[in-house]
Amino acid sequence: MKPGEPIIRVEGLTAGYDDFILLEKISFDVRHGEVFVILGGSGCGKSTLLKHMIGLYEAQAGHVYIDGDDIVTAEGDARKAILRKIGVMYQSGALFGSMTLLENVRLPLEEYTELPDDAIDLIGRMKLELVGLEQFTGHLPAAISGGMQKRAAIARAMALDPTILFLDEPSAGLDPITSASLDALIRRLAESLGVTFVIVTHELASIFAIADRVIMLDKRKKGIIAEGDPRVLRDTSEDPWVRQFFLREPETVVA
């Protein structure tokens, strides 16, 4: 697949919980190798959308094609094959508490590859070095800080070098320096390996630093209100709410 071609297609996706519909018939593409950011106010369904895209929640209607395969309808081995292509970092980190950081990163490698044990070990250490945790490989998640847990979770999501990485609020809770180096890491992976990133974040600095394209969701419209380059949207969007979001202004200004 060449850069620029759509690697994820969301078509007419309706997402919600029972009778409560958060997003109605939304469609968009994520292109190969781009850093794609999902934006929106609290409670507008960003994380819900992300969870639908990774097949964790069942869609009420519509399809999510990942590299051509529909994750909404896929089952069994077909589903596993899709999941093998993606890596996910959850908001809370979701590391396994009874395993050390290295064991956490090793787990997907042990389950999915035939690599010799010391090679798995080396890859695990490299992933942890990448996120600056080489000195904590033997620690349990409970023994390190929240920001470090997050970085370890990113290392685990990258263990199998997936073609698409989903990150839910990656820089929340990180100090500016770590956050900036994480941004740099994301850009480097996107540019040199063609990894596609789908990121939910609120960090404006981070959005302008890394995002190729964003979509902005809205609670009232139950859908996408803006799509495109964040810098362009900030300067030219006709929707005052969108401009406000990027300029970090309080809501009262519009009203």
Binding site: G97, S98, T113, L115, P116, L140, A142
Partner: protein, 369 residues
């Protein structure tokens, strides 16, 4: 696919890698490349990556692994495309060569025994402290009933008491039936089946009724208390209470202990009754009518026997609920520690029940009850 070609020149051994290097394609290449490096001792090795057209993190790991196999300068990497070279530059091979966070060495046996003893002693102290803290909180609550969160108490009562009725009924009925059946068969040989009623009446009301109910309470509610409070601890909800200036014991422990104190005696009465019913059912099949059974039980079990069992239920309730809450509050962090808390709540709850039941038995013996 990934491939490896080995060429020997006069001055060096060349390992030419080609194709796609990722986690799926490299396992075989990895092994071969390592062997090729080992087979050429003393010779300079050049890893030629010119033909590599894709190289992800696993591929970079392979390159790192080959580079670190020998002293610096003896292995060199050639022709790696710039896009992949930037990936390689992120790593410090010297760092990767050492385990910077090794597992702590195992302590010698004597030290281990000492540490465990200190831990047990610490745990006993904590339990004693907790008993004191809970007792004072309980009496405070009794003197100031308005400080108790009664709404919580009723909800917990329902979970501890009402929801436990089916399992308590099942187990105590079964116990009554088994006791009756197993003793009636040999007693029949002496024509003494009627005394089975005495046996069940005394055994259940004095000992087994309270004990089996308490064990069920420990398994159901003690574990639930520990898991619930443990999860709250992990989610920092307990910290939130403390920083609001609210005492976690008053908020979380007192309602649970009051609920257990209210429900445990009632559950025990229920268990006693159902087990007697089970016994009576069995004896009917041995031609002893229900009325005779009741009459016999009434004759042998007097009020002091009943009270001997009933008094225990209050103590058992405090023990089971208290230890459940304590284990919950001792939870450190992570999912496994919540599991540990629940396990320890049940295990130490049952151990304490046995110990206290023994103390009661000795006490009753000397008091001649």
């Amino acid at each position: 696919m990934a491939a490896l070609a080995i060429r020997d020149t006069d001055v060096a051994r060349v390992l030419a890698l080609s194709g796609r290097l990722d986690a799926n394609t490299i396992p075989a290449v990895w092994r071969d490349a390592r062997r090729a490096l080992k087979d050429a001792p003393g010779k300079r090795v050049v890893v030629d990556a010119g033909e590599v057209d894709y190289c992800d993190g696993a591929g970079i790991a392979l390159l790192v692994d080959l580079l670190r196999q020998r002293a610096k300068g003896e292995v060199e990497l050639a022709n790696l495309k710039p896009a992949f070279a930037t990936l390689l530059q992120q790593y410090d091979i010297a760092v990767l060569d050492h385990d910077l966070d090794p597992e702590p060495k195992r302590r010698p046996a004597v030290e281990e025994i000492g540490a465990i003893t200190a831990e047990v002693w610490h745990d006993v102290r904590e339990q004693v402290e907790f008993v004191g803290e809970t007792t004072s909180a309980f009496f405070y609550a009794m003197r100031h009933p308005s400080t108790v969160r009664w709404r919580d108490v009723w909800v917990i009562c329902e979970r501890v008491g009402v929801d436990a009725l089916p399992i308590v009924a099942l187990i105590s009925w079964l116990l009554g039936v088994i006791l009756a059946f197993q003793s009636a068969i040999p007693m029949k040989k002496f024509g003494a089946e009627i005394f089975v009623a005495d046996l069940i009446g005394l055994a259940m009301l004095r000992e087994l009724g309270p004990l089996i109910t308490a064990i069920l309470l420990a398994g159901r509610s003690g574990a639930a208390f520990a898991a619930e409070i443990g999860t709250m601890k992990v989610n920092q909800e307990v910290d939130a209470l403390e920083t609001m200036g609210l005492d976690p014991v008053r908020f979380l422990v007192t309602p649970r202990i009051i609920a257990a104190l209210l429900m445990m005696p009632l559950l025990t009465l229920f268990a006693d009754l159902v087990s007697l019913l089970g016994g009576a059912m069995v004896l009917q099949s041995f031609s002893i009518p229900f009325v005779t059974f009741v009459h016999e039980v009434e004759g042998i079990v007097d009020f002091s026997d009943f009270m001997a069992g009933f008094v225990k239920t209050f103590v058992f309730a405090i023990l089971v609920a208290g230890i459940g809450c304590l284990r919950g509050l001792q939870t450190s962090a992570g999912a496994s520690s919540v599991g540990d808390a629940a396990t320890r709540a049940v295990v130490s709850g049952i151990i304490l029940l046995v110990i206290v039941d023994g103390i009661f038995a000795v006490m009753y013996f000397f008091l001649d009850i």
